[in-house]
């Protein structure tokens, strides 16, 4: 069996084969952070595949579930918001809601699963020196993968309206929305995966936060209504718009919802919720410019999260029990 160990130089010692004289003595705990994760892309891809496979393993429908779930959710929205409530108030409200839901889900999924990721993989963390950033990043990629089917359902619903006319600026807006959410979801997952090892209570805090988030962004209600309610206090509207996820949701609606509203849809709509046709009414001013700023902020935030992670990383193995 020695030949299996020495595929090319049978008989040579390991020191000769690996030319160890020219391999430096290194600190074994140095794993290279986010760059180290990039160096271990193969392991990362296996971890993502394992998560995806494990989720539907043993079920007969397999990955089809990742289409069935968002599709039924969309039908529910259509029933509640399109038929039972405010029919006619806002045209294609189910799409208005679902477009936002896609990015909000992506964010909360990567945040929640990222926060739990190191604890969940503690048997690996305690035994092997890996760049530990790999766990929250794998969680984010798994969440991103599940966004695919939701996007398919969303585009399908847009096409089903018969009046979907996507424009390049809308596509750019969608791209910006995903950039913001991916950067922020990765950052939050990264930072809280380490914090969660130190203080387990944070799993609960993160849950509370991600439960509140869908209600704090304009997807179950239109932005025009926010504008109307905050009319006496314009400062509050500014604060409301400081939420980067709000920006991402609005960008998604710019891409997918407003582009399905045909002139005849707009004419049929009632104006109780402030809906009027036109971009300037349904969206805050400078939507795209704000998007660029938020991407910048999200990049800075990701760097900050990595810095926090590095500070806590050394203590992680000591605190995992």
């Amino acid at each position: 069996m020695t030949e299996e160990l020495n595929p090319d130089g049978a008989g040579d010692s390991v020191a000769v084969r690996h030319d160890l004289e020219h391999v430096p003595l290194v600190d074994p705990t140095q794993k290279g952070g986010l760059v180290g994760v990039l160096r271990r892309r193969y392991l990362l891809s296996l971890m993502v595949k394992r998560e995806l496979r494990a989720r539907y393993i043993g079920s007969k429908m397999g990955l089809a579930w990742s289409y069935i779930n968002p599709f039924t959710r969309f039908l529910t929205f259509y029933f509640v918001f399109g038929i039972i409530l405010g029919r006619g108030q806002i045209p294609h409200f189910a799409i208005h809601l679902f477009a936002g839901m896609v990015v909000v889900n992506l964010f909360t999924e990567s945040f929640n699963s990222g926060t739990r990721s190191i604890m969940q993989n503690k048997s690996i963390v305690q035994k092997m020196p890996l760049p530990r950033e790999i766990f929250p990043i794998a969680s984010m990629l798994v969440s991103l993968y599940h966004t695919g089917p939701q996007l398919v359902i969303l585009v399908g619903a847009c096409l089903a309206t018969g009046s979907f006319s996507p424009d390049p600026i809308g596509l750019l807006a969608a791209l910006m929305a995903f950039t913001i959410v991916i950067l922020l979801g990765t950052g939050m997952g990264l930072m809280f995966s380490a914090i969660n090892v130190m203080y387990r209570d944070w799993t609960r805090v993160v849950q509370i936060f991600t439960n509140m988030l869908p209600f704090s962004v304009p997807m179950m209600y239109p932005f025009t209504l926010v504008h109307k309610r905050f009319d006496p206090f314009p400062v509050l509207e500014h604060f409301y718009l400081f939420n980067p996820i709000t920006e991402a949701v609005l960008l998604m609606q710019r891409a997918f919802w407003i582009t399905t509203v045909s002139p005849s849809d707009a004419a049929d709509a009632e104006t109780d919720f402030g809906f009027k046709p036109g971009l300037s009414v349904n969206f805050p001013s400078h939507l795209l410019e704000r998007g660029v700023i938020f991407i910048g902020v999200a990049i800075v935030f990701l760097v900050f999260c990595q810095w926090v992670f590095t500070r806590l990383d050394d203590k992680v193995p000591d605190r995992l029990i």
């Binding site: 299996e4 160990l5 390991v14 020191a15 160890l20 003595l25 140095q30 092997m128 020196p129 193995p317």
Partner: protein, 256 residues
């Protein structure tokens, strides 16, 4: 000869927390009880290892053997001092890391190998050898969750011993597995040693340490109590009267 491992004045302090919730801590503080304490799991440990040496790490339970291994693996950072290693460190310390019970033996081998630092091509190359070593036949393509504990241990072992590493760490050796498999593992470890890999062998079994190692380090409450000749080290620990141990006694070496 090149230095393989440098352990330089390494100390590791752990915290003992007696209370878990905020309320318990406050009550304990009010009653004047201690809420936390520290202890040194490793205390000024220094030694050097040349490439190709076979070191037996011995010591009673709680003497710091596993903590020392975690420092050499790079899993833990020392509180003070420094550890330096050369080349790829691997071994039986992470057998079965990342195993998912609902995935097949084959899928788990690829996962475990990637965690141990192998590439896809390397795993493809060595897969037949691993499968032969694990010797679990058709079960390779069924979920690991259905394996007996012996079978999943064999699977983990077969990946670990096929990593092309420069330092091989053997802890929790042969805790499960039948006699033929134990013999096979000891033989494989001897082969690994012969190929010039630095061997770190943690065991309570004096006979197998005598067989495998050419130097013994005895840890006592986190300090190096003895460092030198194998027989003297075993005498130092009063393990020499233990002659009925054999590989069976290695079962005792399974605490981590």
């Amino acid at each position: 000869m090149v230095t393989s491992i440098e352990v330089d004045h390494v100390s590791k302090q752990f915290h003992k927390h007696y209370q878990r919730t905020l309320k318990q801590t406050v009550v304990a503080k009010l009653n004047g009880r201690k809420t936390k304490d520290t202890f040194w799991a490793l205390d000024d440990v220094t030694f050097n290892v040349e490439q190709g040496e076979a070191i037996g790490i011995m010591g009673l339970n709680g003497s710091g053997k596993s903590t020392l291994l975690k420092h050499i693996m790079g899993v833990m950072n020392p509180t003070s001092g420094q550890v330096r290693t050369r080349g790829r460190v691997s071994g039986l310390i992470a057998t079965g890391a990342g195993f998912h019970p609902e995935m097949t033996g084959r899928e788990n081998i690829y996962m475990n190998a990637a965690i141990l630092g192998m590439t896809a091509a390397e795993t493809d190359d060595k897969f037949p050898a691993m499968a032969e070593f694990a010797d679990i036949g058709d079960f390779m393509d069924t979920p690991v969750g259905n394996y007996s504990s012996g079978m999943s241990a064999r699977l983990g072992f077969s990946v670990a011993v096929h990593v092309d590493c420069d330092v091989f760490i053997a802890d929790e050796v042969l805790a499960v597995g039948d006699q033929p498999f134990k013999r096979k593992c000891m033989k494989k470890m001897a082969e690994i040693r012969e190929s010039g890999v630095t061997l770190f062998y943690v065991s309570h079994a004096a006979p197998s340490v005598r067989k495998m190692c050419d130097r013994v380090i005895v840890l006592e409450k986190g300090r190096v109590g003895f460092d030198g000749d194998v027989d003297e080290g075993i005498t130092y620990l009063h393990y020499d009267d233990d002659d009925d141990g054999g590989d069976e006694a290695a079962v005792l070496g399974s605490e981590i």
